[in-house]
Amino acid sequence: MENKIEREMEKETENKNIEIGTENIEIGTENIEIGTENIEIGTENIETENKNMPDKKEAGTEIVVKALNEKNVDTIIEGIDIVRTFLMGEVEVRVLRGISVKIRRGEFVAIMGPSGSGKTTLLNQLGLLDTPNSGKVIINGADTSLMFDREKGRFRLHNLGYVFQDYALLPELTASENVYISLMMQGKSKAEYESAAAEIMEAVGLGDRLSQLPSKMSGGQQQRVSIARALAHNPIILFADEPCANLDSKNSKEVLDLFKKFNKELGQTIVMVTHEDWHAEYTDRVIRLKDGMLE
């Protein structure tokens, strides 16, 4: 239900979003928009924004719906001053050193940067696969820093989709089972999840491979199954970490074309980490990372 509403809302704003294009998206601390209220704070710094935080403390889906009722809701993910450090033995490594980033609804964004610059780490923070040491991630108006692990799990199940570099399909499930397992978990009926899986498999060009096991498929096919899995439940954002790293250029192109298609036709928001400049050409905008900072 919700997703449908969102979808429609997205479609309405889709063209506008895409037109706005790359220039108009504020990054970092200088130009912060606050999701739900859509108040332009302009050049104010983060502290100002933090003062405003209590206004949007309500958690979860309520806010998502509320956010959609507001006009001109453009920002779908907002990362605010994200810091992530890891302990390497005794040494604390600051992998993300206070990153603030905004991604608009319907955008197809690439995250690029040298190896070890923290791309995967950033994607994991935005995709709720990891928790920052400080800072916040606000998705669709919901402050995810207020969520428990369980809630995050449920949020991922209903709202987010992931494509991993090595496909990460469950080897014991067939292609369509891999695709519908999350729908099953959502409590959809057999008829619903089977037809949804068939539909999305068709859309990724594997309509004839529903009952094939991943081990019997080529890398490109597996990656397309994993895209189908990531999109089966109509996520509000699709995250992909170097989805083409293990693929030859022909298969890479197929995968990127699929991304582009879902982005254009359905207004699917996509955040993709990549190394290749020609991959980035498919996207609307590139976020560059260097040593844990935005470039």
């Binding site: 890891f86 995967t120 994991n124 696969l129 990891d130 369980r150 799990g153 449920r154 949020f155 991922r156 199940l157 209903h158 987010l160 992931y162 991993f164 990460a168 469950l170 080897p171 014991e172 499930l173 089972e177 397992i181 999350s182 099953m184 978990m185 959502q186 409590g187 096991l213 899995r229």
Partner: protein
């Protein structure tokens, strides 16, 4: 709730049907073996005890034994008492025996054993000793100076304690027997085995010979009267019937008579209980390790499942269901193997052990008890690793960091 259970079932069933067959088979076999190991010792014990019982009745005591009154060494007027007892309709026969320990000599060898003085024909009504003779013949009434040796005395014939025996006496040989200081030569007429060490470590001569050696000839003395009843007669009823005949002698059922066997049985029972505890611990550790290795191998898959929003409880439940499935199949296989394989096989081909020959007897209550424990062990053995693993961060699960 229901959809969660559905997903757990779904994941478990797919792993079972499509997962690594080798691991599945290995796990099931390990669990089946653990089950067998858990029931084996008590089955052995049940088998041994069962045989002890048959052995007592068939080769030694009959169903009931009449013994001298308190403070007396002998039953007097034994044949009169026998007649009296045989008048009871449920009594098949009685055998009045003298019983003492004797020293046997043959060539350089020497050993001690129990010597029974019997009336061969009476004895045949009570015990199956005649059928246990494997070489030569059983005693007959007029025989004097002849002896039947158990194989543990004679040696040979597969005796279990060969080195203690006389080392290969054969039918027709002469052995010397010393009883209360008197030594006499006896010709070996037969050698018997019941395949039970304790019964086979004995010798039978005629009652008249033993009376002579004990110096109680023509006194109609006996040290025990073994009474055999019609199959299915309750021993305690027989005793009541004997008491109502006015018999003052001590009357014991074979069960009470089996004192030493009872002791062995309870000792073995204790050993069994200890073995069971150790066996269960070992079983638990093995199950835990097997399931743990299985689950740890799936770390990444667990991570992916968690990442796409499958709940931890659902993931844990899917592993527990798998473990329960393996345990179920393992128990069934183990049970079938015991019930229709090993138990009937050992019944047909008893194994010789120092206590005698043994076959396995599987007790259903015991088997169910072990099955339940194994089930619990597999649940705990899967919950613990599945829980600890699903608790971990996604980063660690998926990227091993």
């Amino acid at each position: 709730m229901l959809e969660k259970a559905k997903v757990s079932f779904f994941l478990a069933s797919r792993t079972i049907t499509r997962g690594n067959k080798g691991i599945t088979i290995f796990t099931v076999i390990v669990l089946a073996l653990i089950f067998v190991q858990l029931v084996l010792f008590s089955s052995m014990l049940a088998g041994v005890t069962l045989k002890f019982n048959d052995l007592m009745v068939d080769f030694q005591t009959g169903n009931v034994v009449v013994e001298p009154r308190e403070e007396e060494r002998y039953i007097e007027d034994a044949s009169a008492l026998q007649k009296k007892i045989e008048s009871l309709p449920q009594v098949v026969g009685t055998s009045a025996r003298l019983k003492t320990s004797g020293n046997f000599h043959y060539k350089e060898k020497e050993m001690g054993a129990t010597v029974y003085g019997i009336d061969p024909e009476d004895e045949n009504f009570v015990t199956d000793l005649e059928d246990a003779v494997i070489s030569g013949e059983f005693l007959s009434r007029p025989d004097r100076g002849e002896v039947i040796l158990g194989r543990e005395v004679s040696g040979g014939f597969g005796a279990l304690m060969e080195s203690k025996s006389l080392g290969g006496v054969e039918v027709g040989d002469t052995v010397e027997i010393t009883i209360s200081g008197k030594t006499r030569e006896f010709r070996v007429k037969g050698i018997y085995t019941t395949r039970y060490f304790m019964v086979d470590a004995g010798a039978y001569i005629s009652r008249a010979d033993l009376e002579e050696m004990l110096g109680v000839q023509d006194r109609d003395f006996a040290q025990e009267i073994a009474v055999k009843t019609i199959a299915g007669t309750d021993e305690y009823e027989t005793r009541t019937a004997l008491l109502s005949l006015g018999i003052r002698e001590n009357i014991r059922t074979w069960r009470e008579f089996a004192g030493i066997l009872g002791l062995i049985e309870s000792t073995l029972g204790m050993i069994r209980d200890i073995m069971n505890v150790i066996g269960l611990l070992i079983a638990f550790v093995i199950i835990f390790v097997v399931i743990y290795v299985n689950i740890v191998n799936k770390k990444r898959q667990i991570g992916v499942q968690k990442a796409i929003g499958i709940e931890q409880n659902v993931i844990i439940a899917s592993f527990v269901l798998q473990a329960m499935f393996y345990a179920g199949i393992g128990v069934i296989l183990g049970f079938v193997f015991m019930r229709f394989g090993l138990a009937p096989y050992t019944a047909a081909h008893p194994v010789d052990i120092p206590l005698g020959s043994m076959s396995l007897k599987l007790d259903d209550v015991e088997a169910i008890n072990r099955a339940v424990l194994l089930f619990l062990a597999s649940i705990i053995g899967s919950v613990i690793p599945a829980y600890t693993l699903t608790q971990k961060d996604l980063l660690e699960l998926i990227w091993g960091k």
